[in-house]
């Protein structure tokens, strides 16, 4: 990494200026790119664009290769150096042992985004697809309120009963995961023999599934896939949820160690 010709603060708070977009350094002009945790903001006072931090964390600087497509040829010359500047959240940087193989950035997992591995619960299946609700990310802390409200008087959902009617607000439940919905289409269940997938032999309502986000989908649903060995059902109970917990035997069978019941699922490879 090349030397910076100005001091970057190590720890920053939102709104703190990091650097301008271009810095005339010798022998090359340095262009900074706003990475995760930063944003380009126009400053009225000096009438320049600068990169500002958008979260609390530590500054990280990574040199990037010059992209070699035609667009850049017009504007940049070879005397330019690209540096991506980003702010890494203190919590994420601390437990660096957890790394997500798919998402390159360490951006906080506030929202599911393309490529993320998520855990979801199957709520409905049809011939073409399984509807799921996303309940969290793998190995990411999640908000505590899951929407249960028992008080010795039975289970009452937070948006259940007459309290269900809400208006103007985003959602009634307080939890992020509980309310984002997703779809696993039959062709996205597995990588082979995709045309012959029978949804009923892959998922059952109530199963906990590990899946990857394919796309943001439409207004309501994310599109998810389980077409990988390590993706699929991880928790399931036999007899449509009435029986015992089952464990994966191979990639399409699960068994309950207590009762010996065997059911079909598209399992995540457990090892």
């Amino acid at each position: 990494m090349s030397e910076l010709n100005f001091e970057l603060p190590s720890r920053v708070i939102p709104g703190q200026l990091l650097c301008p977009l271009y810095v005339p350094t010798e022998p090359k002009v340095t262009k900074y790119i706003a990475g995760p945790g930063t944003k380009v903001v126009h400053y009225d006072l000096n009438n320049i664009d600068v990169i500002t931090s958008t979260r609390i964390g530590n500054v990280q600087v990574v040199e990037k290769d010059l992209p070699n497509n035609e667009e850049n040829e017009k504007t940049t010359n070879n005397d330019m150096m690209l540096i991506e500047i980003s702010v890494i959240n203190k919590t994420t940087s601390n437990d660096s042992g957890i790394s997500n193989t798919l998402s390159k950035s360490n951006r906080d997992k506030l929202l599911p985004k393309e490529g993320d591995i998520v855990l979801c619960r199957v709520v409905r299946i049809s011939l073409q697809r399984a509807n799921v609700e996303i309940i969290g990310f793998q190995n990411e802390p999640i908000p505590i309120d899951g929407g249960v409200g028992t008080n010795g008087h039975g289970v009452i959902g937070v948006n259940g009963g007459s309290g269900g009617a809400t208006f103007s607000m985003s959602q009634s439940s307080s939890d992020l995961g509980e309310t984002f919905r997703g779809i696993i289409r039959s062709q996205d269940v597995r990588a082979t023999e995709r045309d012959r997938v029978k949804m009923i032999e892959c998922f059952k309502p109530g199963d906990i599934v590990k899946a990857q986000i394919l796309s943001l989908g439409d207004g309501v649903n994310y599109y998810l896939t389980t077409a990988r060995n390590d993706l699929g059902v991880i928790f399931a109970k036999s007899n449509n949820g009435a029986g015992n917990l089952m464990y994966a035997m191979d990639w399409q069978t699960m068994v309950s160690p207590v009762t010996g019941v065997i059911e079909k699922r598209k399992c995540a490879k457990p090892f």
Binding site: S215, L216, Y223
Partner: protein
């Protein structure tokens, strides 16, 4: 008149509302008489002279404009079409509009109302929803139109096969809010339209301004994209959606005569004549040669050209106001009229004054008078 705001103030609202309605109807009629364009060839409004052969109820049938509930005819010989209903052997109108008779079919074409798509219409639409392998498009009709993923050209050339990744990244091609022009490919059972953009003259719209006029003012024609003086191109969607943009290379090429010419958008007038003739063959020529380039990602770009000069923008604004003035005067909108109104508007150096009622009315009058003088009018 104040430069800041003009206020028309009247006592009693609803009576005046009637006056406005009358005026608009008259406007419609007058433009009707002036220009046959307003009506399609297949619709024949019989005037009182050329009335029905049996001629039993000549006085009733002589009404050209009817209001809902108005008796059209007592003669049961007519087949009842859209906009009519039948009660006690008599045919009444169910909308406010113009009576139309085609052979034995009697229908009323509403003066106002939502656009009803027909196959082959060149329309402009706005994406409202990205769905499963299709986009929902607002074209101002009763239902949203559908644009299937298979009905668009994707980056990488026409012959490219649609892959699954395309389904997942449909939003990168067209997303909510995007404007495009397209052709109505077919109609579904319920009257909603299925669109396609499989031609280089269709696709995402950029470099300009969107305005909307009642769809009844746009006349269906062979060509709906016109290059106007001042390096401006207008796309007149049949649905009343209009796009004004800076003339692009494509637009110029399209207007060139088959032999090829150097004048970029210079000879509009000459083009008007040969548009019907040489155009279709010509545009396909261009398409093939430019296929490679235009099928790249650029056709779905959201970026405007960097060289949209202020003078272009001002001209676009002037055209937009001129078209709105024509719409205000309920004059059918054609390329010739836009140009003639544009020329007339040059009398007003301040474009902002074109939004005033008197100015709009005088512009409309200028256009009509101009046509009368030239003898275009019927």
């Amino acid at each position: 008149m104040s430069a800041v705001i003009t206020v028309v103030k009247k006592n009693g609202g609803f009576q005046n509302a009637n006056m406005v309605l009358n005026k608009s109807i008259q406007g419609f009629v007058s433009s009707d008489e002036d220009e046959d364009n307003i009506l399609d060839n297949d619709i024949d409004i019989s005037s009182s002279e050329s009335d029905s052969e049996n001629g039993t109820s000549k006085d009733r049938l002589s009404f050209q404009i009817v209001t809902p509930g108005e008796l059209i005819t007592e003669d049961p010989i007519w087949m009842r079409g859209h906009g009519t209903y039948f009660l006690n052997e008599m045919t009444y109108s169910s909308v406010a509009g113009v009576v139309s008779r085609v052979n034995r079919l009697l229908s009323v074409i509403p003066l106002r109302g939502r656009y009803s798509p027909e196959t082959g219409d060149h329309v402009i639409g706005r994406i409202v929803e990205v769905g499963n392998k299709r986009w929902k498009v607002d074209i101002g009709a009763k239902q949203y139109a559908v644009l299937m993923l298979g009905s668009v050209n994707l980056p990488g050339g026409i012959l490219r096969r649609k892959s699954e990744s395309d389904e997942l990244q449909m939003r990168t091609f067209l997303k909510e809010g995007d404007l495009l022009n397209a052709e109505v490919q077919s109609l579904f059972q319920d009257g909603s339209a299925s669109l396609h953009t499989r031609s280089l003259k269709y696709g995402k719209l950029r470099n300009g301004l969107f305005i909307q006029v009642p769809s009844s003012l746009i006349v269906r024609a062979k060509n709906h994209t016109h290059n106007l003086p001042g390096n401006i191109t207008v796309v007149l969607g049949v649905n009343g959606y209009i796009w004004l943009r800076k003339t692009s290379q494509m637009d110029i090429a399209k207007d060139l005569p088959p032999g090829g010419s150097t004048g970029a958008g210079s000879t509009i007038k000459s083009n008007i004549g040969n548009q019907n003739g040489g155009l279709s063959a010509n545009s396909t020529n261009v398409s093939i040669t430019r296929l490679e380039e235009e099928s790249s990602w650029q056709i779905y770009s959201d970026e405007n050209d960097p060289d949209l000069s202020n003078s272009i923008r001002i001209t676009i604004t002037r055209y937009a106001n001129v078209i709105k003035a024509l719409a205000y005067c309920e004059i059918g909108i054609t390329q010739e009229r836009i140009v003639s109104a544009y020329e007339a508007s040059m009398a007003y150096p301040n474009i902002g004054s074109l939004i005033e009622r008197e100015v709009m009315e005088s512009l409309g009058a200028d256009v009509i008078n101009g046509e009368k003088m030239r003898g275009n009018a019927v």
